[in-house]
Assembly symmetry: D2
């Protein structure tokens, strides 16, 4: 067989581990050929690819990023791919495609699968918000980076009797904020899933100071928003790439807390350090297993699926399940974490 592999969407620790594992299993295990498309679906459309043998993936297991590059695909080009998938497959000689990516990539994969392309997706997101799988690789690394930051910030907060507001990634789902907040022992956690009342945060900090704990750490997801009327909140300026820039919720909340508390509050916006660099052991194992099982799925013709973690097993679930809704933090996980506001 000849299998194509590509990575698309945002950077995520573990991408290279999946690529390596696909090559190991396909080439060494089945005697397949593997080719890697460059810069995501673009490489498929433009015929930019290179053969991947064992040497090509040597030493990449622990490296962040993706040796294949990644790029966003415009919608019309995706349609082009769907319409010409047969020709594209023929031209590149592939019998199956393994796209590694997030929600957008899996949606594209589903489209290609729906028109007949033999596709097995591998879900990828540091946000852990893809449906149908217990976890995604990259998430553990992101939580680890955020937790280490909170650990560091706590000592400063305590020494200076300050409030620290740490903004972590998560536009629509608050998994990183939830787990790094729990792991770091944050006193307040704010998630996109539940609008927060600033008053409650103020009260929590004041109660801490009152019983002699003269500092607090709040961990807030970038997508968290205050409850209606809870604090002044206008949408920031939108840049040419569609992002609301430099006026994130972390900065705003720190400013608001400082004003209301009359105590120093400092924001820290972790940003892209959460999504790059060497993956944790957990993510390397999960990514490696995903790659291995994606090749197995290809060989048993289990197309239109994506790999998934279900308990301790790697399974496959329909791509349709993966993209049908975002997996957000359920109420009971918030309840259990106690410090979610």
């Amino acid at each position: 067989m000849r299998i194509g592999v590509l990575t698309a969407g945002g950077d995520c620790p573990g991408l290279n581990a999946v690529i390596r594992s696909v090559v190991h299993r396909a080439v060494a295990g089945h005697g397949d050929e593997v080719i890697g498309f460059e810069d995501g679906f673009k490489g498929l459309l433009d015929g930019h690819y290179r053969p991947l043998d064992l040497n090509a993936v040597s030493g990449i297991l622990s490296r962040g990023g993706t040796i294949l590059g990644s790029a966003r695909l415009e919608r019309n080009r995706l349609r082009e791919a769907a319409e010409n998938w047969h020709e594209l497959s023929e031209r590149t000689g592939i019998d199956a495609l393994i796209p590694i990516g997030g929600e957008g990539t899996l949606t594209a994969s589903r489209m290609l699968s729906d028109v007949g392309m033999p596709v097995v997706g591998v879900p990828k997101t540091i946000d852990n918000d893809i449906n149908g799988t217990d976890r995604t690789f990259g998430f553990d690394t992101a939580v680890g980076v955020a937790t280490e930051a909170i650990d560091r910030l706590k000592t400063t907060a305590e020494s200076h009797q300050r409030v620290m507001v740490v903004e972590v990634m998560g536009r629509h789902a608050g998994w990183i904020a939830l787990e790094s907040g729990m792991a770091g022992g944050a006193h307040g956690i704010c998630l996109p899933e539940r609008p927060f009342e600033v008053d409650d945060l103020v009260k929590m900090v004041e109660e801490r100071f009152a019983r002699g704990k003269k500092f607090a750490v709040v961990c807030i997801a970038e997508g968290a928003r205050p409850a209606e009327g809870s604090m002044p909140y206008e949408k920031g300026a939108i840049d040419q790439f569609g992002h609301e820039r430099f006026t994130g919720i972390g900065n705003r909340l720190a400013s608001e807390l400082e004003k209301r508390l009359g105590k120093e509050a400092r924001p820290v916006i972790l940003g892209h350090v959460q999504r790059g660099g060497t993956p944790t052991a957990y993510d390397r194992v999960l990514a490696t297993r995903f790659g291995w099982h994606a090749v197995e799925a290809v060989h048993r013709g289990d197309f239109g699926k994506m790999t998934a973690l279900t308990g301790t097993e790697i399974t496959t679930v329909p791509l349709a399940v993966g993209v049908e809704e975002l997996k957000t933090v359920p109420e009971k996980r918030m309840y259990e974490a106690e410090s979610v506001f």
Copy 2:
């Protein structure tokens, strides 16, 4: 309510996180009192304990070890505990006990439960070999430490064209070797679950050298053993504490490989660094959830159980399930890892 908590058995990153979480949930959530017994079951028997309030567990989330201490319990004293549990409970005023520990501790807990003591266990082992739960806290930290070591050893192995043999923990189950071997990209993995053929390892190394990869890393569990007749193997001397000392399988295998290959092979015995120190974010979250749910189980009278991870949920399973058999690495996980010998 008044809840007793104790930690028993070997050190394990996350013990303090469980203790803290039990106190937070019980005291802040339910208005309970919590007391901590010192040095495991000994503290229960000898009446050595101290009250644990929120301040007592402040700042311990990220700390390794256990603030309560831990100690092995002789079998006859355990019988003593079982016979007098009612009096012991009365003397200390506890309505329920949360013992945090490994197989031995859970077996003891089951004994106490069988005679009527209200017990909810929390499983603990860096080895990940307790039945009935997907994972135990401490395991992720151990795998992380071992993986970082393999990462480091690989560069030396490569620069010096050497074979490195890394011995990791795991007397009866090879989970740490399996996952750190996968995460570190070890070329050979040896587990207690499957006797290894030295010839196969020799062949693997020679094939690597033949295709220009002039180094290899073997990750071996301390409990792994060569197949009958595969290499000279006599049991080492046993010290006063019952351990086979200084002649572990890592040293023996490195020596044997060096002899057969005629190439330098170096053993590294990771030892106790795998079981101490600050827990990973993953382990802190799991430990915190276990503690929280143990208190909930106490409050709903769900005794004779232990907390467990089942997929993404924390559940409780009978203590009997937890101790009925060791959870070892199944065949399919070995197959999937490819480099298991």
Copy 3:
């Protein structure tokens, strides 16, 4: 003897290591008594202090922050201290004071010394900009944190063909930017010591893209400023605490580069994670040696001095030397780093 110790100014990894070392050397080595003033000079003025024995400093070597707390002192209260130092010494019974702090603290120490108080200062700053010592503790940790961040950001930059702008600490001296930029292999480094030309950065990035390296990382000190006319630059709004908030140079530069290059550029503002948390081994050793030698200086009556690293030796230099000028990055270090703009 009875020695007072206090920590003042911003958080800095290694403060606790100094405190511990002072206590170890004074109490165990000389049979002294040590008291710790709370929240810097405030504790001295208000008579808030506590005895520090070996148990009081147990386990703090690796902990960030300061067990004594820290606070800014208003200028008029400092005068109060200088005028009443004799009475203050008498009231607290101290024979000598060891203040641990940055430029402000050392200036205050010098004032106290000038009026006759027996003072031995210990210099502290993550910025490494105190004169008279080769290095200060805290700096190595800050550089380590920043370097790890750059390592992580590089893989994302490369995978996404982006420019990453990392803003690190350093208002007046660029040591952190210089060394973390070198250690992380940043392609551009901007320091407060030398106004940068945006055009040069643009050219550097374009040349990289031209030769196939389709990403770049710029490491910029928070105090770096563009050369006159090099890019639009107005001072940001000043908050109630006198800080220019939320409009730092990192954000501005990323925005400007994106506009000029027509490529995605992302800012990451590391902020307070650089100044908290567990110190590196290097900083622990340096801090421990500083503490030890401060006590020795006290015992030989070597007052009006601060400890300093000179090559491999710990020496003392006059406080006047430490505060006479800021130690900034000299031209030749910039030249040597090559990527300084």
Copy 4:
């Protein structure tokens, strides 16, 4: 100019950083050509080398090991090199050689320099025992790895009321033991420079237990030896490579302490993890500066020298100075560390 570079001797974090820096400075700074000899002096003798341009050293700054490989050289082949250096230079076209290595390599470099070869050495050792330079790269990384291990072991020691004996590298000089022992807060430190009395260690542990600190950590250099008559000590078996195997001082001391104290004592032999893997920021900066200055020395004809750190400056000192004696831990540093036995 055409400059040759090679790495020889044991693995050391930072080797790749030197190679990269030599290439950057020579190629980009001076328009030189650089060639890299493979496997140390062997590559020079056998004419195995490859050109090193900017792309060849891309991404290696943070990687452990050496892209050029390393190997021991037999003494007679070294003589061969000395006798034929002129021909070797001509054959490979080099105008100068930059050997990066430890004592053996620098001695060889001196021999080559003495017969007229234009050589600038770069000193390398994780042991920090080369004369004439304040520090060598690799040392900081080794100390960091050892310190993290001690941090981890301490929590286990404390939880289990045990003595932990950590054996770190250092056959002839105890720098790693000294600094990691200080940074980790070891209660006993044993160095090759001073035979230790087991009785003193026993007394220290007993005193700790007596005042309620029921654990201890001893950090011992592999080359440390007990004082005459202090404990039974016979030399272990010597293997085919000349090493005394599997019977190191760490194991012996733990065994002896256990016997004398009647308490559990556990050895941990850190081994090769100390010498591989990604270098710390400190080591990357030092290695980069060494590489840069080695090229400058070549260009100003400053041959027969090695680069050195002198305070904050990089200087050059005669190779003769670097190899005239081992830089061991002086008495005053032991005194200052307090816990050296």
